[in-house]
Symmetry: C2
Subunit: 139 residues, 2 copies
DNA sequence: TGTCAAAAGAGAATCATTCTCTTTTATAAA
DNA sequence: TTTATAAAAGAGAATGATTCTCTTTTGACA
């Protein structure tokens, strides 16, 4: 993704365009395996050695608030982030920390119809995400 | 749940039966809203004032390993626990930290059949959990 | 009842994340 | 283009949940 394109995205979200924010956005988009803050910082420092950890956390928070990234729920005490492209599900390895995206429009429709028809009492569904736990057969 | 019953469960899992473990098990079973370690500790200390936090964490880890409790994935940096009764889904409030269980056998069957038929390439599904995000209409 | 590995206890250590305070900078108006 | 200013970045301390270390206690079995 080109810098100008990222700038436009930030601007459209009402975020001040700064080199740090561009770098974070680029890192999250590039590191596609749901990176931790740590790996994002490590990646950025290759080209921007002095960026502060606090800055990266603050930028990630701002992005999360604006819906540019999502926090990924995990069972560990380290947060992981996800460049939001569209709503999707996650495959979790039951043995390692690996997490992969899973897109399935057919499934989304089935679920959407199911809950539209059946509903959940006293609850208004806004979004459904599957955590599919299992084993990856290839690396 | 009676103490003897808990003892039996622990014994069957190959865990040494201690008063602390019984207390933790009882707390997790009793506190049904996916308690944090903190609230588990607080609950236990009402009847067992001197239990060490380290002990509670160690017990929760042991239980997690044996499948007696589950860690609940959240976007916050505080772990939450869940007494494992049977596989179930979670309703997450999009505005607060509230999490409720959601059981739906019909849905489980739909999903089971769907993935059995369709499969996911290079992935062996072991368990499917839904995170249903939305709003609770009643407290 | 004695033995001993496992568990509990206490408090320090860890470490991801957040906060505080200062300096810098992007933005928009003059 | 310069200026004003609120927002953002930076540095390092603070926080706080969780883990670790080391010692003492205890459950389980001989």
């Amino acid at each position: 993704m080109k810098t100008e394109e990222i700038s436009r995205v930030l601007f459209e979200k009402g975020l001040k365009v700064t080199p740090q924010r561009i770098a974070v956005y680029e890192a999250v988009a590039r590191l596609n395996n749901h990176p931790t803050a740590e790996s994002i910082i490590k990646y950025i420092r290759k080209t921007y050695p002095n960026i502060s950890t606090a800055t990266v956390y603050k930028v990630l928070d701002a992005f999360t608030e604006k819906g540019l990234v999502n926090r990924v729920k995990t069972e560990k005490d380290m947060m992981r982030y996800d460049a939001v492209l569209e709503s999707h599900h996650h495959l979790y390895c039951s043995e390692t920390d690996r997490i992969e995206d899973y897109h399935d429009e057919q499934l989304d429709n089935i679920l959407k119809n199911y809950f539209e028809e059946k509903g959940i009492s006293d609850f208004k569904v806004e979004d459904i995400k599957l955590q599919i736990v299992g084993k990856f057969l290839k690396s």
